[in-house]
Amino acid sequence: MWTTPDQDPRTFGNPEGELANYREYLDNYRLTIGLKCEGLDAEQLARRSVPPSTMSLLGLLRHLAGVENSWFQRVLQGLDQPLPYRREDDRDWDWNGAVADDAVVEEARASWQAEIAKADGWLDSFDEAELGSTVPLGDGTVSVRDVLVHLIEEYARHAGHADLLRECIDGRTGQ
């Protein structure tokens, strides 16, 4: 269901403080992606609606589960967890495995939400004063701050993909 303004779960405040600001933007993007995927059946969610791109909304949900896991669990906490939807024989399995099947859709939604919950749990206990602290990434290091800003960028860009994918499924635009 498309929400009316008074039912929109997103907040558009002017939060004070750096971490609160990052979290508000991130939360609103997660909600935006969720809204873009609402009210569609498995075939619509799996449809590659903007050819020649192979992106679909279902593929995007799977991809974002991997994004959340990669940054929050692996990079920021250094946990060695299997990356969701990563297969040795297909680096794009998140997109390529997004087939029109209700069970695949449910699994993808649950996986994405579970990663968000884990990420938020970590953020809840994170001390804003530590935003400048660094963690290893590749052959160097990266600050927590840089990871959070990058995540907002990445979500915004994927929301742009979702805009066009949704418009080309059923004409829905906005939000």
Binding site: E154, A156, H158, G160
Partner: protein
């Protein structure tokens, strides 16, 4: 690879301001690359059922750069080269009118708007930093911070670059997350 090859990469570990401006500049470069070096037909191409074009996005983001750095930031008028009455009959005027603009004019408009916007925000940040209140306010009179305006720009760029990703792939197959090392915008004036 040196930083000279990828000047758009933000710092690995800087303060809040360095990261925010770094993220914004990387998105500007990425968007510019996604829209770059096309002829009029390329800039007018639509994909699937959407009416969005790369030319429309170039003109829209030029407007956003100028608007945020004048009306929103300080309350100054939008200024040259915009005509404030251009939207009187069409609220999407910048998107729609781009189809009539020459590629060189579109790229020059965008590059000029980015330069102006960078200078205006730099000046405001020297005066008051990220916490300073901008002119823009909500219906209740609550003013946005300069931080908030810059984040709005990051968001807006991120999202429109997502649009550009899909349109550009349909135009000529160009895909990718960031510009290749050594890339510089093509000038249609040369």
């Amino acid at each position: 690879m040196t930083s000279d090859d990828t000047p758009w990469e933000p710092p690995r570990a800087g303060d809040e301001l360095a990261h925010l401006l770094g993220a914004l500049d990387r998105l500007r470069a990425t968007f510019r690359w996604k829209a770059d070096a096309l002829d009029a037909a390329g800039l007018r191409t639509t994909t699937a059922a959407s009416r969005l074009t790369l030319g429309g996005l170039v003109k829209h983001l030029a407007l956003v750069e100028d608007f945020k750095s004048t009306v929103s930031l300080s309350g100054a008028p939008l200024g040259e080269p915009w005509d404030p009455h251009a939207w009187d009959d069409d609220e999407d005027w910048e998107f729609n009118s781009a189809a009539d603009d020459a590629p060189a004019a579109l790229y020059a408009l965008y590059d000029g708007a980015v330069q102006r916007s960078r200078a205006r925000f730099a000046s405001a940040l020297r005066d008051g930093g990220l916490d300073a209140l901008a002119h823009s306010s909500s219906a209740e009179g609550e003013h946005a911070s300069v931080r908030r305006l810059l984040f709005d720009l990051v968001e807006e760029y991120g999202r429109h670059t997502g649009h550009a990703d899909l349109i550009r792939e349909a135009v000529d197959g160009r895909t990718g997350e960031d510009p290749p090392a050594g890339w510089r915008p093509t000038s249609w004036h040369l």
